[in-house]
Amino acid sequence: MITKADWQAVHDEIMAEERRKLGEPPTFEEALAYTRGELSEEEAERVRALLVSYPELARIISEPFPEETEEDRELVSDAELAERWAALEKRIDGDHGQAGRFPRLWFGLAAALAIVFSGVVWQSGSQSHRPHVVALTSESAEDFQTLEIGGGTTRGGAGSEATTLEAKDGKYHLGVQIVGSLERQEFRLEIVDASDQQLWSSAVLRRPPTDMFALVVPCTFLKSGHYEVVLHGVEGANRERLAVYPVRVP
């Protein structure tokens, strides 16, 4: 007889194979757009399949908030709460000093999410506070700083490989050259920080006539440090990382 354990073993094998086949899990923005019905049918199908294959992420999107119980107080004692508050204050005062330096993306994201999770209508962050891709013309091309492709898997750590960004009018104007097969027509851009935490992801982008994406990033979006702009090729349900462009914000 097939036992429950056998069933679970088969299920785990199937899930592992699906993840290998489908690739990286959806970004939080993609998952959010999916829950709000903002994706094309094809994109929605891709994200849906990915969420099923990465149940730990699906759980974060779908799990309702548990009611408070008495046991919750036992999770964190009063003494620990006070200690953690002191530690948090140190981080706030030490790392962030000035309020408002954190990218406004978080406010925009949280506000947008609140619409999904609580029905509260918020005023989300405006487009000008977030990275966005613009049309590159022959006139504007000169204003854009072409990024260099990084070598191997090092995360800008070598420093010398990372492009140092130059601000203009409070923004970084970045030229991301498309690489790979000329037949590929759809792409995504992503910005990740030094710990591979995704900060921003674009929608699916069509190949422009110039074969270069013009990415505008508000200076307030990135603190000093190392980041990566990542170019992904998109083909139906599949996504392939094509190039990584390490950058440094002085």
């Binding site: 007889m1 097939i2 036992t3 056998d6 069933w7 679970q8 073993a9 088969v10 785990d12 199937i14 592992a16 993840r19 290998r20 690739g23 990286e24 939080f28 998952a31 849906r48 099923v52 149940p55 730990e56 992420l57 699906a58 974060i60 999107i61 799990e63 309702p64 908030f65 548990p66 408070e68 919750d72 999770l75 964190v76 620990e80 709460l81 508050w85 948090l88 706030i92 962030h96 309020a99 330096r101 406004r104 978080w106 406010f107 994201l109 949280a110 506000a111 999410l113 999770f117 609580s118 509260v120 492709i149 191997g152 898997t153 710990s195 591979d196 995704q198 392939e240 990382r241 990584v244």
Partner: protein, 190 residues
Amino acid sequence: MTNRDRYKALYEKYFRKVVAMYVRAFRLSEEDAKDLAQDAFLRFFEALEDYRGDAEWAFLETIARNVAYNNIRSRGAARRGGGAHHVAIEDIPPTREPAAASAPDYADRETARFLKKRVREAIAELTPGQQQCVNLWADEFEYKQIASILGITVDAVKSRLRDAKKHLRKRLGEDVAGLSWPDDLPEEEQ
């Protein structure tokens, strides 16, 4: 009340709640949950400068989900590795302990392998929608969550599970008795 006082009051009011969410709903370890909750509150503090509303909890909850999502996603990315080339995907460990597949002798091992093969073949014959419902059910999601993830109604979830159960029973016979199906599936269509 200064902004810092306001923030401290919110921290004392909601920190345990965020930790509890991470532990009970997202199944993180207590230590990971507490560290991640700190990160969430840090983001909350920085975003609070721009917030002028009264529903701080809803605001914080969305930030907490975002922080947890990115953290778990990043852990998976670290396991998978990365670079400028096609990403080599590695398995994310299952959420449960794997079934003990070893058997005392060759005959038992072969029987177990044969049964698993039958189950896999039967599952492969389900429609994609049925497979997705079954997979999420196997990962211990409830009807409402499955409906939310797949963008369908709860009734549609139950129908798909019912049809999947019917097919698997037909293909696997009495062997399907070991599977845990929900008790409240609609009656099978004749």
